[in-house]
């Protein structure tokens, strides 16, 4: 079993068009590194200088990981991670 990662439209060019991919890791950070090895380029769209990008929302199951532990949030088999670009502007 692995962790399902749901990919938004704008990042599907990194996943060959797939809406969801699977990855492994014990924390969100490891999961993203694992994702990067399978889908090069994705990590840079999610992480900047060791932190989650401000305008990318990442959810573990039903929670925004910012309210959990950010990149250090533990993840486990069977979890679903959802990536949604923030809708924002001026």
């Amino acid at each position: 079993m692995a962790i399902e990662v749901r990919i938004p439209t704008i990042l599907r060019n990194y996943t060959g068009g797939a809406k969801a991919v699977s990855a492994e890791g014990a924390t969100l950070e490891e999961l993203i590194s694992n994702l990067e090895s399978r889908h090069p380029g994705l990590k840079e769209r999610l992480v900047d200088q060791g932190n989650l990008r401000r305008f990318v929302n990442v959810y573990l199951n039903d929670e925004d990981v910012r309210f959990l532990g950010g990149l250090g949030t533990p993840v486990s088999d069977g979890d679903t991670v959802t990536v949604l670009p923030a809708v924002a502007g001026g």
Binding site: T9, N57, R66, L84, A86, V87, A88, G89, G90
Partner: protein, 133 residues
């Protein structure tokens, strides 16, 4: 081109007026590119110059659209002191290449500007809006 019912236009404008001088924002969900379901969103920034969907509300709404096989056909927000044209920040955060980005300006008390754009890879393309009865 964006084809949208006058009823939905009126709802967007009413939301923008109600939140003035802060920016208002929201989504019209639909299928096959047809805007149908009006979803006003909270502007988590509560600001006259910036908007951002509340992350948990966005998660719920996006999941609901997914469950209903809908997509965000229109993403709207208001400008409260400037014209209804995408700002530099609007362009840098635009992340739904398939959406119509609708901008409403409430800077004039009596007249409303209602315009629509595609924003893809940093490029703004204004499109015609057809108002359906």
């Amino acid at each position: 081109m964006l084809s949208i019912s006058q009823e939905l236009v009126d709802k967007i404008v009413a939301h923008a007026r109600a939140d003035h001088p802060d920016e208002a924002c929201g989504v019209i969900a639909g299928r096959g590119g047809v805007p149908e379901r009006f979803i006003p969103m909270e502007n988590a920034e509560r600001s006259p110059t910036f908007y951002r969907f509340d992350s948990m509300e966005q998660f719920r709404v996006w999941r609901e659209m997914d469950d209903r096989d809908e997509e965000p056909v229109v993403i709207y927000h208001s400008h409260t002191a400037t014209e209804a044209y995408p700002s530099r920040t609007d362009v840098s955060y635009a992340s739904e290449p398939d959406a119509h980005y609708v901008l409403v300006s409430t800077r004039d008390e009596n007249e409303v500007e209602f315009r629509s754009y595609r924003i893809v890879d940093g490029v703004i393309t204004e499109e015609e809006v057809r108002f359906l009865p």
